[in-house]
């Protein structure tokens, strides 16, 4: 009980101190706004298509990055180990045909989102590449107050 309390305090402290994370997608993605639950379904692999012809390609930042931490905390609500276990299980249960792809930098994310149709990635809000679409979460951009991915 005490350990949970300490972890909750630390998480709240982290959130309070983290920079917002922007969700970027390739320009051909026919979506502009998502609710946080929709975004969570998207990143959990429960929604695999933007539309019947466009598949969702998840790009996840490699470990040890602030954006990954924010996403794990706000969207997945999982630890690093839980995240890995989640996707390995999902792949081996064949719930999904492929898991999220790892990117190692914002530039790499920028390149892949630009190159891969239906790709979605998250980057630090202050380093959003030009020419990419940033999805609103719950109708809010990263610069708006109350943006949930911080």
């Amino acid at each position: 009980m005490l350990r949970k309390l300490i972890i909750s305090v630390l998480l709240l402290a982290g959130i309070a101190s983290a920079a917002p994370v922007a969700i970027i997608v390739s320009p051909d993605v026919p979506v502009d706004n998502l609710t946080l639950p929709e975004l969570r379904k998207l990143f959990l692999g429960e929604r695999q298509y933007w539309n019947p012809k466009l598949r969702v390609v998840l790009l996840v930042r490699a470990p040890v990055s602030a954006e990954r931490d924010v996403v794990l905390r706000t969207i997945y609500q999982m630890s690093e180990a839980e995240f890995r276990q989640y996707w390995i299980s999902k792949v081996f249960r064949a719930d999904v045909s492929e898991g999220p792809k790892i990117v190692y930098s914002t530039e790499m994310a920028d390149q892949l989102v630009t190159a891969v149709p239906g790709a979605v990635a998250f980057v630090e809000a202050s380093r959003i590449p030009k020419g990419l679409k940033v999805l609103k979460i719950d109708g809010k951009l990263p610069s708006d107050s109350g943006y949930p991915l911080k």
């Binding site: 598949r55 390609v57 790009l59 996840v60 490699a62 890995r84 996707w87 390995i88 792949v91 081996f92 045909s97 492929e98 898991g99 999220p100 792809k101 790892i102 990117v103 190692y104 790499m108 390149q111 892949l112 190159a115 891969v116 149709p117 790709a119």
Partner: protein, 569 residues
Amino acid sequence: MTIRRRFTISFTGIMAMFALNAGVYVWSNQRRANAMEELSRAVSRQVLLSSVQLTINDAQKQISVMSQLGTESGVNSGLPASDKKQFYSKLDSAAQNIDAFRKLQKDTPIVSDFQQSFHELAASWRVFIDNFGVNQTTAIAELAVRGDPLSRHVIQELLPKVQTEENQEAAAASSNFREASRISDEITFSIFIVSTIAALIAAWLIARDIARGLRALKAGAAALGQGNLSYRINLQQEDELGDLASAFDQMSSHLNSAQQALTAAHAQEKQKSEDLAQALEELRQTQDRLVVQQKLASLGTLTAGIAHEIKNPLNFVTNFAAILRSLIEDLRASIDSQKAKIDPSELSFIEETLGDMDTNAARIREHGKRADDIVKGMLMHSRGQGGDLEATNINSLIAEYVKLAYHGLRATDMNFNVTIEENYDPAVGELKVWPHDLSRVILNIANNGAFSADQKAKRLAGTKTDFKPTLRLTTRKLAKEVEIRIYDNGDGIPEAIRQKVFEPFFTTKPAGSGTGLGLSMSHEIIVQQHGGQLRVESKPGEYAEFIITLPLSAGAAKGSAALSARTNG
């Protein structure tokens, strides 16, 4: 058709059935082997496909995990060469299995597309592996842009289709195997049934014909064994039994012909023997007749001589007896005129003596007359008779003289009573005969018959026997002669004297009742004079029947010749 041919055809048919069955067995075995091979290939393909599926799934998961886990160090830390080699080896193995699978499978578009897509997927995965940890962006981009869509296409679309197609192929192979087994079993069973039925029918037909033929031959042999040589089998079969039956019939025919020839020869020999016997009998009868005739002729000659010598003295006897009676009458008349002059006692003696003398003279004349009649008969017998050959109605002549005989007997004996039965054949008509002589014959024989029947009736009178004395006369016209039968139911003629009745002076009548010349004279008239025959049939105590046959024409001529010869002699 011959039995040999039937057996040959039946055997050939059965062998053909066997051959067909063997062919079906080979065919079905081949088809089963093909189906089994096809099934085996299907199993092999399924094994290969399962292996490929496992390999692809493993590789895909491996790639997926790698893509989402990445490397610990980020960039410039690619996979170890051994891991790459192992992964590539896995892909190569899957490619080889797909290639092997494709060789075992018909080259369908889906399989071709599957192989092509797998090659592209393997190439994409190679790019991913080569760039993984080295150029992660390229690796992820390759995977996201080509690898993942290809893997989804291969795993989620093509592989199920290939599996479905393969399952269908396996099911078809299995069905084909079962169908081949079923068809071969049905054909084999059908051929067995048809062979059995055909063999049974053939056996029945052959056995029936053979049995029928053997039965017919057996019946023929039995009939032949019982001596029925006219029996014919007539077996209408065109086979060995038919030939045998035909040969049997020919043998029977030959035996029959031989038997008939033998019978004919036997009959001919028998006829010859009978002819010889008859000729011998005729010869013997002729001999007897000649002896009798010779004897009769001798007797006739002797009788004629004696009669001639006796007749003159006999004439003196009878004539002088008549003269004596005349003289006695004259003497009696003289005495009557001188009666007064004679002593009554002397007169009585004289008249009594004259009466005795007249009586004796009358007896002398009477017996002399009778002796003269005998001598006349003897002379007539020895000389034959007179009269001319005339066409005479035989029936009328017989009827007339039978009545004369009846009334003659009736005149001498008032108790005489015989029933006359007459049965004359109108066809007899007239015949050239010596009617006077023939009438004497009829009169003699009818007289004898009526006398015999009457004597028998008188002897049986008083007894309870219902005897009716009968004299029956019958005429009948035969082919070359006329037959006259004179029957009486008197005492008949004993066998011992039957041959003597035609001899002169033979008689069974009481002394003084017959001369014994009647039948002898009748025989002379019929045989010698008319060229006919006279014979007698009799059963002693029951009947006697005299049978006269007169030739229609030749007999008369013969008779004329005989008479002429005798007259000349």
